[in-house]
Assembly symmetry: C2
Homo-oligomer: 195 residues x 2
Amino acid sequence: MAKKTAKTYHHGDLREALIKAGRTILEKDGIEALTLRACARKAGVSHAAPQHHFASVSDLLAEIAATGFEDFVKALDKDAARAPSPVEKLKAMGQSYVAFARERPAVYQLMFGVGAPQSSERLQAAKVAAWEQLANAVSAAAGPDNNEAKAMQVWSAVHGFSMLVISQRLPPIINVPQALKRVIDGLAPAIGARP
Amino acid sequence: MAKKTAKTYHHGDLREALIKAGRTILEKDGIEALTLRACARKAGVSHAAPQHHFASVSDLLAEIAATGFEDFVKALDKDAARAPSPVEKLKAMGQSYVAFARERPAVYQLMFGVGAPQSSERLQAAKVAAWEQLANAVSAAAGPDNNEAKAMQVWSAVHGFSMLVISQRLPPIINVPQALKRVIDGLAPAIGARP
DNA sequence: TCCTTAACTTGACATTGACAAGATGTGGAT
DNA sequence: ATCCACATCTTGTCAATGTCAAGTTAAGGA
C-alpha cells in the first residue's frame, strides 16, 4: 500500500489494478491477448466492472500505453545519464530506444501503433515528456538551430529501425547489430553535431 | 475478363474479388473495418464463403498487404524513373515512400504493422521486390560497400518518419514538410553518396 | 447421363465490446 | 448514531466477429 492513489471502495483501486493487469498481459501474451475482459479477469472482477473506470477499451489501452511511455522515458534517462558528452548521450539514448522496442515489442507497438488511442491526459503528458527528452538531447548535441526538424530526423531513424526489426519485415540477409551500429553512428552527423 | 486468373465455378473468381473488396474497405473505412465478413458482404457471398480460399482471416490480410506492396513498388519505380541521377532517384523514392504512406495510411499500416501476417507466397515475393528496389537504389547511389546496412539506414529514416506522421504521434509544434525535407536531404549524406 | 468434387450456404458456437438494470457498500448529511 | 445518495460492482443481454460442421449446388469428366 501507500503506492496506490485512490484507495476507494470495494476493490481498493481497480483502476490501477486494471492498468497493471493489462500491462502484464501485454508483455506476456502480446497485444492480441489484451482485451477488456482479460484485464477484468486478471484483476478478479466481473467483465463489466471496467466500464466505470474506462468509458471504452480504447481508454484503457491509452492508460496502458501511458505507462509504457513513462517506463520508456525512465529507461532512456537512465542510459543517457551514464554517457559523458551530449553526443554520447544522444547515442546512448538511441541504443536504449531500440533496446526498449526489442525487449517489449508489444508495449512499443501499443505506444506507437497507428490504431493506438489518442486521448487520455496521462498519455498526452507522457508523450510530451518523451518528446522533450529527445528534443533536449538533440539541442544539447547540436545547438538550437532547426531544433524540431533535427529531432524528427533522429527520431525517425531510431523509430523506423525499431519498427522494422520488431515487425519482422527485414530480409534475412540483414545483420541487425551491424545495421543498428550504422544507424546509431549516423545520428550525430545527421544533425551536424561536433563529435 | 482476361485479367482474372482462375475463372472458376459459380462466382467467377471469388478469391481475387475478396482481395479487391478488402482493399476497397481498407482504403475507405480504415483497418478496423477490414473484417472477413465485411469482405464477404462486399463480394456478395455468404459469410463463410471465404473459408475455401483463405484458411483464416490472416491469410486474406496477407494477400491484401501483398497488393499494397505491389502498388508501393510501382509508385516508387514511377517516381524514381523521372529522376536523372542515382542520388536524385534515391531522394525521389524517399519522397514517394512517405507520400504513399500518407495517402494510404491504412494500407501502409497493414503492410508494416507488427501484427501483420507473415506468410503468403505473394506477400513474400512483393516484400522481396520492395527490398531489392531499395537496395539497388542505394547501391547505385553509394557503391556496393556496406550495401545492406546503408539500405537499412535509409529505410529506417523514411519508414520511421512515415510511421510517426500517420500514427499522429508528433507534437503539434512540428512542421511536417520542413522535417520531411531534412529527412530526405539527409539520405544521401548518410550513405556517403557523392551528390 | 450420372457422379465426383470443388464452391458456396446455412446454422451454430465461443469470444469480444458495449449497454441496461439491479445489488452492494461507502461516506457524508442530519 | 442513523440514514440516504451515489459511486462501485454484478448479472444478464445484444450485435458482431472468426471459425467450424453439415448440407446444397453446379461444373466437368466418366
